[in-house]
């Protein structure tokens, strides 16, 4: 009975029963020989730690203005990823060692992000969610409105967990968030390993897939920022593992237990993040459909049939009838032989996750209707802009986006562009071999078939990067569909690695390719000038001085109190929200960018301020303040390469001085806070 529940062909540790002479004590043997219980995990941990130390030194040097030593950063990452990658690629490690390596790798890469922003949350979305978490702590209730991104309080999963840890531990929200996200990262790596192992029956493939998944563009920074997706995605992969495990289980009690655990996971995903819950729904529905219509079983015959129809040898009706017959005969054969007749039949006839898919779909819909009705008005414009942009590019009405060029005109160095292109090229070269492996060995597995489809989707979505309005959609989707790429590429790489003709040089080339793919992911996913830490706190004697935006935010809260309505730019608005507890209006929301960016005050500005009960306007004369990724830090010479250099025209940032009824409450040099309550009674500027 238990045999069907056990993972088949999973490599298990081979423990020698024969006593062996201990190796002589030398430094070399001490660090190169397997240490016993955990293989080379301990020494690889130490090497990875040295890599982290190099990253930390690079960040510290950058933060302290002593130079941007990118090479040190890459060297540190190489020390962390390279040796672990090499070990995961080899056949030697036991399952236990592989799991340990995968977890160390995931946690190590998480610490790279912590070292980047060690003092506070500084990523644009982090500040929005930090505000939501603080509101939960202050009010003891969920769903407090968020003026910058109104959809976020409707998905309070991450903030709830963080607030619970903060309430119970007495830690601040930042430290609590770091702990929760660290645990979420462990869940990602472990769930991914076990999920792929469940499908492939190989800890070797699982380890490689987990390694390759770390190469997707958002893994290093984006996926571990304090934002709802960072918790939802690990939980979604956990649910996928539960569903895969359940599909291989015939014991009713275990199926019920796995179903219950999956339902808890699904509900948590639904209340945590919209896009991840949609991804989960789509994945589970596709999986259920593949099983229901036995697409994975009929794939070979179907492919041959399509070829035959294309060649004119078979009519379409005949093709469909033949497919139906195969379905019926397959089902009858399965019933006759029983599920455990042999592995292949069992694989072909395993249950689909239809019930879980329905539950996920129902929960996501219900949540959106009852609680998160703002989601559609938030996502629809983004997706429709992306769609329109693609159509316009196709029909030639607009030009494609320049790759590796920011909106402000910054272009990535040529070497980085080459590495990024090279990484995509390597993926494209490796994937066909992985797909062939799936065809040969895994095409009877519905999830393997689905992951192969996700791989193809990944390459299709790369095209979105050419669209100005769609590139972000494509970028965000990559962390979902890259699950397929990691699996497919792992199959290809392991087949090559295990090939009898594989030489040492070949292995080195494979490792170099993995390194290139990893570097390409980081380059594609994060702006170069934000890759290293930036100065957020500067030490002066025994004091720490913060940038002007942070100081004015703290001043506003302490002197005027929280909950004031202000107009501000993108970066200062987020600081006011997160650390000031204010109600800022920023960006494209209500066109407030145009209010700040105009040279003259116009009637509609007055009307907007009156309607929104605006009390203050924060004007930052630096152009970088409009950049919600880079505007929080002290200004340095290098930072100006990221955005248009310098300051706005004085006509823009001094326009409120021309109104005699407007008070000027604070002046910090770059930032001025105006009291515009007196403008409420002014209906026209003339």
């Amino acid at each position: 009975m238990e045999n069907t529940d056990k993972i088949l062909e999973v490599e298990t540790p081979v423990i020698s029963q024969t006593p062996t002479r201990p190796a002589p004590f030398t430094i070399r043997t001490w660090i190169t020989i397997d240490t016993g219980n955990w293989g080379r995990l301990p020494i690889l941990c130490l090497i990875g730690a040295v890599g982290l130390a190099l990253v930390s030194i690079a960040d510290t040097l950058a933060r302290s203005g002593m130079g941007r030593y990118e090479l040190l950063f890459w060297l540190g990452l190489s020390l962390l990823v390279g040796p672990i990658g090499g070990r995961l690629a080899s056949r030697a490690p036991t399952r236990r060692e592989r799991i340990g390596l995968v977890m160390v790798l995931g946690l190590g890469l998480y610490l790279v992000k912590i070292m980047h922003s060690p003092q506070a949350f500084t990523f644009s979305d982090e500040l929005i969610h930090y505000f939501n978490g603080n509101r939960i702590l202050e009010t003891g209730r969920l769903f407090s409105p968020n003026p910058i991104l109104p959809v976020t309080p409707s998905y309070p999963g991450l903030e709830t967990v963080t607030a619970s840890l903060s309430s119970l531990s007495g830690l601040n929200l930042f430290d609590s968030g770091i702990i929760v996200l660290g645990v979420a990262r462990l869940v990602t790596m472990l769930a991914l390993f076990l999920f792929v192992e469940q499908i492939s029956r190989s800890a070797h493939v699982a380890g490689m897939a987990a390694l390759l998944y770390t190469a997707h563009a958002n893994f290093l920074f984006w996926s571990v920022q304090y934002s709802y997706e960072s918790l939802a995605l690990p939980l979604a992969i956990f649910v996928l593992y539960l569903a895969a495990r359940r599909a291989d289980t015939t014991l009713r009690s275990q199926r019920v237990a796995l179903t219950l655990a999956a339902l808890i996971g699904i509900e948590a995903v639904v209340i945590t993040h919209h896009l991840t819950s949609y991804f989960l729904v789509v994945f589970l529905i596709c999986w259920a459909l593949i099983v229901r219509f036995r697409i994975h079983v009929a794939m070979k015959a179907g492919a041959l049939g399509v070829v035959s129809w294309y060649a004119g040898e078979t009519a379409l009706g005949q093709l469909v009838r033949g497919y139906g017959q195969r379905l019926r005969s397959g089902a009858q054969a399965a019933r006759a032989r029983g599920l455990k007749a042999n592995v292949k039949t069992a694989l072909e006839n395993r249950g689909g996750p239809g019930d879980l898919a329905l539950m996920a779909l129902g929960s996501a819909l219900l949540w959106q209707i009852l609680i998160a009705s703002a989601t559609s008005s938030y996502l629809a414009p983004v997706l429709s802009r992306a769609f329109t942009s693609i159509i316009q590019i196709i029909i030639g009405e607009s030009t494609a986006r320049e790759l590796f060029q920011s909106e402000a005109g910054y272009t990535a160095p040529i070497l980085e562009r080459l590495i990024a292109f090279g990484s995509v090229l390597l993926l494209a070269l490796g994937v066909p071999f992985g797909l062939r492996k799936i065809w040969q060995q895994y095409r009877h597995h519905p999830v393997a078939t689905l992951l192969a489809g996700a791989t193809l989707l990944y390459f299709a979505m790369l095209a979105l990067r050419f669209s100005p309005a769609a590139w972000e959609t494509g970028n965000r989707a990559s962390e979902f569909v890259f699950l397929g790429v990691a699996f497919v590429l792992a199959l290809a790489l392991i087949e090559w690695w295990n090939s009898p003709n594989m030489t040492r040089i070949g292995q080195v080339l494979i490792m170099a390719s993995i390194a290139l793919i990893f570097m390409g992911g980081i380059i594609a996913g994060w702006p170069p000038l934000l890759r290293l830490s930036r100065p957020l706190q500067v030490k002066v004697d025994q004091l720490k001085i913060e940038p002007q935006g942070m100081a004015t935010t703290r001043w506003l809260r302490s002197v005027l109190g929280p909950d004031h309505t202000l107009i501000a730019d993108e970066s200062n608005g987020r600081l006011l929200l997160a650390y000031g507890g204010q109600n800022p209006l920023v960006g494209r929301n209500l066109n407030v960018n145009e209010v700040i960016g105009a040279e003259l005050i116009e009637d509609w500005h007055l009307e907007l301020m009156r309607e929104q009960q605006v009390e203050y306007v924060l004007v930052d004369r630096r152009r970088v303040s409009w950049n919600n990724m880079a505007g929080y830090y002290f200004d340095e010479p290098e930072s100006e390469a990221l955005v248009p250099k310098g300051l706005f025209a004085p006509e823009i940032y001094e326009k409120f001085d021309s109104r005699p009824e407007v008070g000027r409450l604070l002046d910090s040099g770059n930032i001025v806070i105006y009291d515009v309550r007196t403008l409420r009674n002014v209906t026209s500027v003339k």
Binding site: G36, P42, V161, I179, I271, K539, V540, V662
Partner: protein, 262 residues
């Protein structure tokens, strides 16, 4: 039989102890942090896993994943439930709710294990038993990682960035005719200032020798005459002693009918 329940007895004991510590001794911070981490991130998931899978269905890595994953998921759902039940999400409600979930799941697990004859864990137990060499290497790795994190967290000087000064002026909160004027120095050196206050261009008051250290601040309250019938503008100007002719910062406050309404 009791041996079968060892882990559950431990879970129940730790959960009760954690709730007691959190509610009765919230001031003992390290202990409080440990209890909170256990109660939020480990115990509920572990107990639920034990309740769902009383036998040896899961090996250690799977049990770790289930414990962490279910803990995260359950904590989020418990928070939602507390909100729906109109309970405030605070120390007491969190402690009791998460402790309650852990206890209930552990009791269910014990009940489900009552008739179990197999060992709770599979024979190929995944135990963490480092030998001396592994212990030394792992200890070194932890030390180096800790040092790297500490290096990252400590603020450093930066010669490429410059300091700044905040000048501000707001009316006093009590509705009187007072104005509060303040200077916050975020300069990197001791700085001497000169503050001047004007009423419609007429010098009202000045503070010529203001010296502030980095991080230092100064503020004062100014008593003004009764609210004027016509609008008047109070302006404060800040000069640095190293550039006495150049206005370094300026703020202004508009008094008059409008201010009276506000």
């Amino acid at each position: 039989m009791l041996r079968q329940l060892n882990d559950l007895i431990l879970v129940v004991g730790v959960a009760i102890l954690a709730v007691v510590v959190l509610l009765a001794m919230p001031g003992v911070l390290p202990l409080r942090i440990l209890c909170a981490v256990l109660l939020v991130l480990i115990l509920p998931g572990y107990a639920l896993t034990a309740a769902f899978f009383p036998g040896h269905f899961l090996d250690i890595p799977q049990r770790v994943l289930f414990s962490l994953g279910l803990s995260l998921a359950v904590t989020a759902l418990v928070g939602l439930s507390l909100h729906v039940l109109k309970q405030s999400l605070q120390l007491t409600s969190w402690s009791l709710a998460l402790g309650g979930v852990t206890l209930a799941a552990a009791l269910l697990a014990a009940w489900r294990r009552r008739s179990l004859v197999q060992p709770v864990y599979s024979p190929d137990t995944f135990r963490f038993k480092p030998n001396v060499r592994e212990g030394v290497l792992l200890g070194l790795a932890l030390f180096v990682t800790g040092a790297a994190l500490q290096l990252a967290r400590v603020p450093t000087p930066n010669p490429n960035v410059s300091g700044y000064t905040l000048l501000w002026m707001v009316p006093a909160e009590n509705g009187s005719n007072q104005l509060r004027v303040g200077v916050d120095s975020k300069e990197f050196d001791i700085t001497r200032y000169n503050v001047q206050l004007f009423d419609n261009g007429r010098l009202l008051e000045r503070w010529p020798d203001l010296e502030l250290e980095p991080g230092g601040s100064w503020q004062t309250a100014i008593e003004l005459a009764a609210t004027p019938a016509v609008t008047s503008t109070i302006e404060a100007r800040l000069y640095r002693s190293d550039a006495p002719e150049q206005v370094y910062r300026r703020v202004r406050f508009v008094r008059g009918e409008q201010q009276a309404k506000d």
